[in-house]
């Protein structure tokens, strides 16, 4: 059975510190668990410092401070300073909401390496609608301040059917703001995005047109701006190599201290994800059931087990297999070899039907009230 025999593991390289689930925004594609409201406890400053120290000692070097909105944590600057002393490269992944010039300077002095700001759309109206909060002007000001203080500026725009038509304007906005990197992240359908999929999944034609525009832009700005394009795997024939292989590279720590092999792993049944309050990072990474669960290839079922591509994609995403087929050991149904591949087309058809229907479902915004309904 998966998890029963420990497989030699490479050390973690990437630590994602989800400092809090608190967030002033309400993005309907948020990757936080939909029942996040039931996880109220947060690690304290000393817990986080210990986690950073232990993970660094094992070899983690890239560190993301994320959430929720990490700026809502009062000890952010202190944690950034600790991370810098340990030699991490630290990334602040923020909505920009609540980021003042004073704070930007303070974080720089503490040793923060880069700030990634998410913008929801290229117009105030749509941005503020999707974010569920008036924030567009503020985000643009923050983007200018980030540049002004010498950080590499990464702009992240999550793409879905409500903003995909704005692709040319989104690119122009990134250029105008002087982004060094632009992350065009097609929505991945976990967490809140899964609940809102019928309203967020673009059609194939929309997606292909947007990709073409982004591709042409990429060539135009080569050498000035780097584009990270996260593909929407619903329109692929092969799944993504999720997390670069389970328990090989990425370590996520949730706000309450639960250690996750991928940030959606909380949705999977029976993993018994360990808490950093009970175990060291080394014990968690090497010994825990959760981190060994899908390591290697022994756990696989057919068609993955005998597939010659398994070392390339590791059978795809476990969370997607679970959400869409009900069995987390199955091949990711994005794969055309999966016997469940038809569920992808069904999802696409269902989204297309929703857009033309008169009683189209409304978006479910990510907030504590809605979250409690799912808890």
């Amino acid at each position: 059975m998966a998890g029963s025999n420990k497989i030699n593991s490479s050390p973690p390289r990437w630590l994602l510190a989800e400092l809090t689930y608190a967030c002033p925004l309400q993005c309907p594609y948020c990757s936080n668990p939909i029942d996040y409201a039931k996880y109220q406890a947060e690690l304290d400053t000393e817990d986080w410092k210990r986690v950073l120290t232990q993970a660094r000692k094992m070899g983690a070097v890239q560190l993301g401070f994320s959430g929720g909105e990490p700026l809502t944590r009062k000890d952010l600057t202190e944690l950034v300073k600790h991370a810098r002393d340990l030699g991490y490269y630290s990334n602040l992944i923020t909505s920009g909401y609540g980021l003042t010039e004073e704070k930007i300077i303070q974080l720089k002095e503490a040793g923060l390496d880069h700030i990634q700001i998410s913008i929801q759309a290229s117009t105030q109206e749509l941005n503020d609608h999707i974010a569920g909060t008036t924030s567009f002007q503020l985000k643009k000001e923050v983007a200018h301040l980030v540049k002004k203080h010498g950080y590499p500026m990464v702009l992240c725009v999550v793409i879905h059917s409500e903003n995909i038509h704005q692709m040319p304007e989104i690119l122009a906005m990134a250029e105008e703001l002087g982004a060094d990197y632009l992350e065009l992240a097609n929505t991945q359908y976990y967490g809140w995005a899964h609940a809102n999929r019928d309203l967020l999944l673009p059609t194939k034609a929309q997606f292909e047109q947007a990709e073409q525009i982004a591709q042409a832009f990429k060539e135009k700005v080569a050498g000035k701006m780097k584009i990270y394009y996260v593909v929407p795997d619903f329109y692929e024939n092969r799944p993504k190599a999720c997390m670069n292989g389970w328990g090989t590279t990425f370590l996520t720590i949730a706000p309450d201290g639960v250690a996750l092999p991928c940030h959606s792993a909380r949705e999977l049944p029976g993993l018994d994800c360990p808490n950093v309050k009970d175990y060291s990072i080394e014990e968690i990474w090497k010994e825990s059931k959760a981190f060994n669960f899908f390591r290697g290839f022994e756990w696989m079922k057919e068609p993955c087990r005998s597939c010659d591509e398994k070392e390339k994609d590791f059978g795809g995403c476990r969370c997607q297999a679970y959400l869409l087929t009900g069995d987390m050991y199955n091949a990711d149904p994005v794969c055309s070899k999966s016997p469940d591949h038809a569920v992808i087309q069904q999802a696409i058809d269902s989204a297309a039907k929703n857009t033309v229907s008169v009683d189209a479902k409304p978006l479910i915004f990510r907030n504590s009230k809605n979250s409690r309904l799912f808890s």
Partner: protein, 90 residues
């Protein structure tokens, strides 16, 4: 993109070059990414401190490794580095 032989070469202000004990390697760190360097690439980049131009970097490394004829390899690597934004000249 070509290296201007006159101008000094400087390591990028938005990247970080550092020794990683766990990997026993020098690496370049940048937003959400990392490049592992072999020893010779790391030696070249460490000399890109904004005080030396191409010829000075070449002669320093030739002296250090008691060899000659490194110019082509070093130029080729620095062109890649420039294209990737790891170094700049201005």
């Amino acid at each position: 993109m070509a290296i201007n032989p006159e101008l000094p070469i400087q390591f990028s202000r938005t990247h970080r070059l550092q020794w990683e004990e766990a990997q026993q390697k020098d690496v370049i760190l940048y937003p959400e990414g990392m490049v592992e360097l072999n020893q010779s690439s790391a030696e070249i980049l460490k000399l890109c401190d904004g005080t030396r131009n191409l010829a000075q970097i070449v002669s320093e490394l030739e002296l250090k490794f008691a060899t000659s004829g490194l110019i082509n390899d070093i130029t080729a690597f620095l062109e890649v580095a420039l294209k990737n934004g790891w170094i700049q000249q201005n």
